[in-house]
């Protein structure tokens, strides 16, 4: 039986692999462009060495892409605990018409207003014709992959976004600040690091960026450490809200969906065993888990998980209510944080994270329907913004992107939504 099963597994995996025919000419073209960029970057970094000597204490970010010109901008020391030091943080209010919704793409930061109109606030695209999935930049001489995960239009009129390796803030004054970054991923080593932007919130009157930083040592088992950090944009000290480590073959719980903050509490979506169980932890400001708090507390035995998949959470501004996207995005729910009771539920089939809740009197909730992965959907676009109001019990859908794959602004990831202030 075992021999027969072995043969079956081998044969079926071989057949599965045969379904995949890599586009060799396209792949070769992409490799050539990556090689060319690598050499241009080497030259640029060498040329910048003397400038770095003069600009002691600052890092330099060069963005090359396929454009032979090199842009060099200064920002604060590139470490997780750094804050911008070289330029005054903008406190200008959002410009008139500042967009309420920000989405991130694999190519740049695109801001979308309430009518669906888009504008690119930072174009990370490179090249023409065939396209790379992601752009790259060099920070302090090291390559950073620009796979944007989230972007936020912030209260100060800027945009904050995260890549695999950096959390970047673009204030309204046009300057650029790397708030946190880690070494680029080295796929062949035993170590990988990443930073993930989780939220932009107001804590004690200060606009703060909440992100996670994860270090993983590979091997057959993943051993790692993760930190939840709240970093003030005004230059205050970072607050290491929570740190946890895991090792061996034990439960590999980790941050999974959104982290939301309000009224001194964080809500964190956790996953266990690669998402086989998800739940929502409620943390105090010092990172202490409040046992049993919230509608989906940590189960006693994650192996017998009592919950459907939890995709995203968002606390209302006063912390009294929690919006949850659950069941692979099928249901939008609204809970009381006081006693965890369900206030309302709306079947949406919207898709996945993110979700945002706004207590403007009507409790409006917005979710983004997932973007497709490099393939246009049936309407020729890629991704859809949908608004669901539990209070009104309605669901409004509108396409937000009709960009074609040959457009450098091609939307490959839509991850974040920020409601109008």
């Amino acid at each position: 039986m075992t021999d027969e099963l072995d043969r079956t597994i081998s044969a079926e995996l071989g057949r599965e692999a045969d379904r995949f025919g890599p586009d060799l000419p396209s792949g070769r073209s992409r490799l050539d462009r990556r090689v060319q960029r690598f050499h241009r970057r080497r030259v640029a970094v060498a040329g910048l060495t003397s400038a770095l000597i003069l600009v002691v204490g600052t890092a330099v970010w060069t963005t090359l892409d396929d454009d032979p010109s090199v842009r060099v901008e200064s920002f604060g020391p590139p470490s997780p605990t750094s804050t911008p030091t070289d330029s005054v943080a903008s406190t200008a209010p959002p410009a008139t018409g500042m967009t309420p919704v920000v989405v991130a793409t694999g190519w740049g930061v695109v801001v979308t207003d309430g009518n669906g109109a888009q504008r690119v606030v930072e174009d990370l695209s490179g090249g023409t014709g065939s396209w790379d999935y992601r752009g790259t930049s060099t920070i302090d001489g090291r390559e950073v992959v620009q796979r944007i995960s989230r972007a936020y239009s912030d209260l100060q009129g800027g945009v904050v976004y995260g890549t695999d390796n950096a959390i970047v803030w673009l204030p309204a004054d046009g300057s650029r600040h790397v708030l946190a970054w880690v070494a680029p991923l080295d796929l062949a080593t035993e170590l990988s690091e990443s930073v993930d932007l989780e939220d932009v919130v107001v804590i004690d009157g200060s606009v703060q960026v909440v992100y996670t930083q994860t270090t993983i040592h590979t091997g057959l088992d993943f051993n790692g450490t993760a930190q939840l950090v709240a970093l003030p944009l005004d230059g205050g000290d970072p607050n290491q809200v929570e740190t946890y480590s895991w090792e061996g073959t034990g439960p590999d719980w980790q941050y999974y969906g959104q982290v939301s903050y309000a009224d001194g509490k964080y809500t964190v979506v956790r996953s266990w065993n690669q998402g086989s169980c998800t739940w929502i932890d409620v943390l105090g400001p010092d990172g202490t888990v409040e046992p049993g708090a919230g509608p989906y507390p940590r189960p006693a035995d994650p192996a017998s998980c009592p919950y459907d998949a939890i995709e995203a959470v968002s606390l209302s501004d006063d912390g009294s209510e929690l919006a949850v996207v659950r069941g692979a995005g099928q249901t939008l729910e609204r809970y009381s944080m006081a006693d965890g009771t369900l206030i309302a539920s709306l079947p949406t089939a919207l898709g996945q994270e993110p979700v945002a809740i706004d207590d403007d009197g009507s409790v409006r909730t917005v979710a983004i329907r997932a973007a497709c992965q490099g393939q246009p959907d049936a309407s020729g676009g890629c991704g859809e913004l949908a608004s669901a109001s539990i209070a009104r019990g309605d669901l409004v859908r509108a396409p937000i992107a009709t960009i074609t794959p040959d457009d450098p602004r091609w939307v490959t990831d839509i991850d974040a939504v920020v409601l109008p202030n």
Partner: protein, 167 residues
């Protein structure tokens, strides 16, 4: 880097691409189950080799290790979000009545549901046809650990297939 050195490196990476790109993409695809992601992982791995050419010149072992580590990392981090997108896309196709290719088999479905560690061992053992000792070397663990992961994986796949047949 001299012009001659760069030419040597460029020729070498072109050769490596022509011989290894497709099989490495298939290996990554078996592990992560996503074509675009698989190609990204292999592209990154090739650039790893290119950057370290003086040390790892044309090393298929280095490339494979890079691809496996990249696949596992993708499963653990960004891959989660991507797989959610795939789930959504699959639901859309079902709703639309659109089938865009042959379905994966029940065996493959069972493999895709395995924990990442078991899935990686299964891909290397059954698809790459590596010996247990080679897998242990690649993943930095003991042969006994690989054997136990493969044993658990077989049991899970067998149970899944029996459940399907009974259903």
């Amino acid at each position: 880097m001299s012009a001659e050195s760069r030419r040597h490196r460029d020729d070498g990476i072109a050769d490596l691409f022509s011989t290894a790109y497709e099989p490495m993409c298939r290996l990554a695809f078996v592990i992560v189950g996503d074509q675009q992601l698989a190609e990204e992982i292999v592209m990154d791995a090739l650039m790893n080799v290119y950057r370290r050419w003086d040390r790892v010149e044309r090393s298929p072992e280095y490339l494979r290790r890079s691809v496996v580590n990249g696949s596992r990392t993708a499963l653990r981090s960004k891959g989660r979000a991507r797989m959610k997108v795939r789930r959504w896309a699959a639901r859309e196709r079902v709703e639309d009545g659109v089938i865009d290719g042959p379905e994966s088999s029940h065996v493959v479905d069972a493999v895709r549901r395995l924990p990442e560690r078991q899935r990686t061992c299964v891909a290397l053992y059954y698809f790459e046809d590596l010996a247990v000792a080679d897998i242990a070397g690649l993943l930095g663990c003991s042969q006994g650990t690989v054997k136990s992961q493969l044993s658990k994986a077989r049991e899970s796949i067998r149970t899944a297939l029996e459940s399907h047949h009974d259903g």
